[in-house]
Symmetry: C2
Subunit: 277 residues, 2 copies
């Protein structure tokens, strides 16, 4: 499936909004703003902001109104990648084929660029409505029992034997929690009712878990150095089967929405599970 | 002046609220929650949350309603200290007489504890009113043209010659911006009118600059290893004189408030300037 083609218009809106939200490179301190733009404007699938827009559309809201939260979730995601790549974490030299932020701008500037991106994500959310609920969604997913909690357990697990429950905890918090925030923020901006929000929350949970399982399978097949992976508790065939089951559950949870309003979310979960790289 | 005694009741409220806002140590991931509590509950003057409560009081608001923003600003401040102490930044082994977070919990956990504290600060703000304005205040002060911007310029300056404008930029953004957010958030919760907000903003700016100048003087006198300091552009006597002038300007900006409602803010700026350690 031509993922970028399907979502071309939305992707253009997202990139335009990201460029506008980031401080210009010549504003003081220039090195910091260069590092922030380098990390955010480096390609990437923009899956989380697309989910945010698609969720607003699914509940009958205005896609344009979801651009604020969409930008916020991508700025937030970029911060987690910058910190993840640091020497004290995964110590990665490359991301998306380019040297990582700390390789280009130094470790301290990378740390601080990540910190500033997190703050900027919340600054953008403060300008969207309903600000209090949106901030709560992102902050909760971002915190010690969300993304950061997943990262801590991921680090701890990579130095020992893991069981299936630990893998699931890490997939849920490191990955699915932010998918959940993206979808729920889009739905909130779109004026979702409680039942819609519940269905979309289940969709995002299944999508996030499936996405991470497939990531592990693809990393395993490409011989990428083993971090924590579900392949340490079951084989690739079992993993693919689990991912397909999660995909079907995600698709089922979308049935309450009109066909033309759910097709984007359906495409995204199919892409996440059926992709080969 | 017995600073702690004067504010004993407020300090007790702040510490109780901080303890309640932090996740319990036995919640997963325990190591992360231990690190967060270790960094926040380690003494400290609680100057920023006190400023927040005092500002709410000054404009005739309920002090109790300002506890949310007060907690948020202290959680935020703790995160900046944890990241500041990291090896790639100041590489400090001790803070307030105890080993720094990364010395006790490891570098990755310190990085992640700081990240989670920033998220928690915004989560707390989402529960206060008016959430949108409060989040905007903290996020703006926190970002690339605020605290983080000050830190970047501080790092850059410590490896070269600095001029007075650079020192002022660093003092303003690394220190005074967060004092400003603390005071403005308290004032907003207290229902401040525009003219009150303007006066308190000027108060916080003068207090923040004076506080940092005195910090530099005290560090210089104690022979603490030289980081960027205003003493590299003027001598200690000049610095003390500048601090007293800023104190007087801060005091003057409080004149619009009733005496009994401004005494706490007056005490704080006198403490900041006249302290000997």
């Amino acid at each position: 499936m031509d993922f970028a083609g399907r979502f071309e218009k939305w992707l253009r809106c997202i990139d335009t909004a990201l460029i506008a939200a980031l401080p210009p490179e010549n504003r003081r301190p220039a090195v910091l703003h260069k590092a922030m733009r380098y990390s955010v404007l480096s390609g990437g699938k923009r899956l989380r902001p697309l989910l945010c827009l698609a969720a607003a559309d699914a509940v009958g809201g205005e896609v344009r109104q979801a651009l604020g939260p969409a930008v916020a979730v991508e700025l937030f995601h970029s911060y987690t990648l910058v910190h993840d790549d640091l020497p004290c974490m995964d110590n990665d030299d490359f991301r998306r084929g380019r040297p990582t932020v700390h390789r280009v701008f130094g470790e301290a500037n990378a740390l601080l660029a990540g910190d500033a991106l997190q703050a900027l994500a919340f600054e953008v959310l403060a300008g969207a409505r309903p600000a209090d609920r949106l901030v709560l969604e992102l902050a909760h997913a971002a915190g010690s029992t969300g993304v950061v909690g997943g990262q801590v357990e991921d680090l701890a697990a990579s130095s020992g034997k893991v069981d299936e429950a630990t893998v699931k905890y890490i997939h849920q918090h490191k990955t699915a929690d932010l998918f959940g925030a993206a979808v729920r923020m889009g739905a909130l901006v779109g004026g979702a009712r409680a039942a819609d929000l519940k269905a979309l929350t289940e969709y995002a949970r299944c999508l996030g878990l499936a996405f991470q399982i497939v990531d592990d399978v693809l990393d395993g097949a490409s011989g990428k150095p083993a971090e924590l992976s579900c392949l340490s508790v079951y084989d690739a065939e079992t993993a693919r089967r689990k991912a397909r089951r999660l995909r079907d559950r995600a698709l089922a949870s979308l049935k309450r929405f009109p066909v033309r309003r759910r097709v984007a979310l359906e495409d995204m979960v199919r892409f996440a599970v059926d992709r080969e790289h």
